[in-house]
Symmetry: C2
Subunit: 262 residues, 2 copies
Amino acid sequence: MKHISSRDNPAVKALVKLAGTAGKRGAPVLLDGVHLCQAWLQHYGPPDRAIFDVDRLSQPDIAALAAAVPDNVSLALDARLMHAVAAVESGQGVAFLVTPPVPALPAQVDETCVLFDRIQDPGNVGTLLRTSAAAGIKRVFLATGTAAAWSPKVLRSGQGAHFALEIHEHADLEALLPRLRVPLVATALDGSRDLFADRLPEQCAWIFGHEGQGVVPALLAAASLKVRIPHDAAAVESLNVGAAAAICLFEQRRQSSARLRR
Amino acid sequence: MKHISSRDNPAVKALVKLAGTAGKRGAPVLLDGVHLCQAWLQHYGPPDRAIFDVDRLSQPDIAALAAAVPDNVSLALDARLMHAVAAVESGQGVAFLVTPPVPALPAQVDETCVLFDRIQDPGNVGTLLRTSAAAGIKRVFLATGTAAAWSPKVLRSGQGAHFALEIHEHADLEALLPRLRVPLVATALDGSRDLFADRLPEQCAWIFGHEGQGVVPALLAAASLKVRIPHDAAAVESLNVGAAAAICLFEQRRQSSARLRR
């Protein structure tokens, strides 16, 4: 493995410059830390480039990663150079430069999926990815304007969910509607039904909206079911979008299991 | 109202210095923005001190706040001084310096409450406060080691929940146990029952734990019921604590309403 100790090295310079491009369509991203790199290897194989803290190459988990990556894409960096590289905050001694997968748009969607309508906060997006994966969902669509799925904060709060999901970013949700073979279900405060009062569809496309504005009117109008979570409205106006989504997705799961048990 | 345009003013200096003390027991905190200041006035009356952007005193919502605060605690600051004051990020032109309420520890707890066991992330703490208030809960206990409830990030994600709850910070959760007249219910992956399979207690003390370590063993051992949320464990190891809590609290609410409807 090539060992680099100068910041003027072109490969290092390119990695440092990367900071500004995270989240751009088709732009490479940096996966920071042992867990994320292991998960990437397992699901997608070798990265475009791997960087290792030269002082920690003897550490077993780092050594195992180094052994699994072809030598020609690996670089060993001095510790201070590792820190100079954008987004390497974990201090775990390893990061992968990768190009996130861009799954092909399915001709039709006939299983439960989740539509993210311009959710702004990276923590909310990561939590919602994690909750979706935990609920057994396989496919999510992130409208343009949603926080970038493969950005460091979203990766961190996703806790591995990225590798259990087909993530369609920069999605045009209105253009997606004709492909849906399952009903569109939205959360809304007005004109909606109590989430817990009725039977939810066995499969559906859930849509969760912007933290302040909720789901965009055109998509709300297209929903075949609008639900609200009954709550103490005198205490707080609404629930956090991640909390609301968790309640919805697991209520659907609970109803499914209850039907199976009968 | 006194108008200040010098950063050397002692009151301004004190406000700037405040940045470092947020979250310390008994320390004053700065509420930033129109909504928080309105809520404080409504629930607790005048603040220790109020600062206003002198250029925005004619704006109706700011003017209403200024009229409601005694003149001797109000200061009008030049815009650039407002920005210098710690934690004033909203740019809404108003902030209150307040001393958060310290509710008396109840002799016994006989209603549903939530125990926060060293939850680290301010966003998680704020979301959990918001979800608790939305679920109709009136009292929460935050163990030492939990993110400070009245810090700017927690206030922001709490979205007003702080004013609907009795928030006991720096709580010793083990010392609290003898006061509980309701069963202690914890979420745990091992040795736990399916949340949805059984009838939950009508009233209980929920405990939610540290993002990485979960609930501390001594408290887990004291729980009369341990529940888990059945999820796709091949996809992600666990749920985010805020998502898990939302599912638990609203499942309890759903069961209560279902019983009432019968």
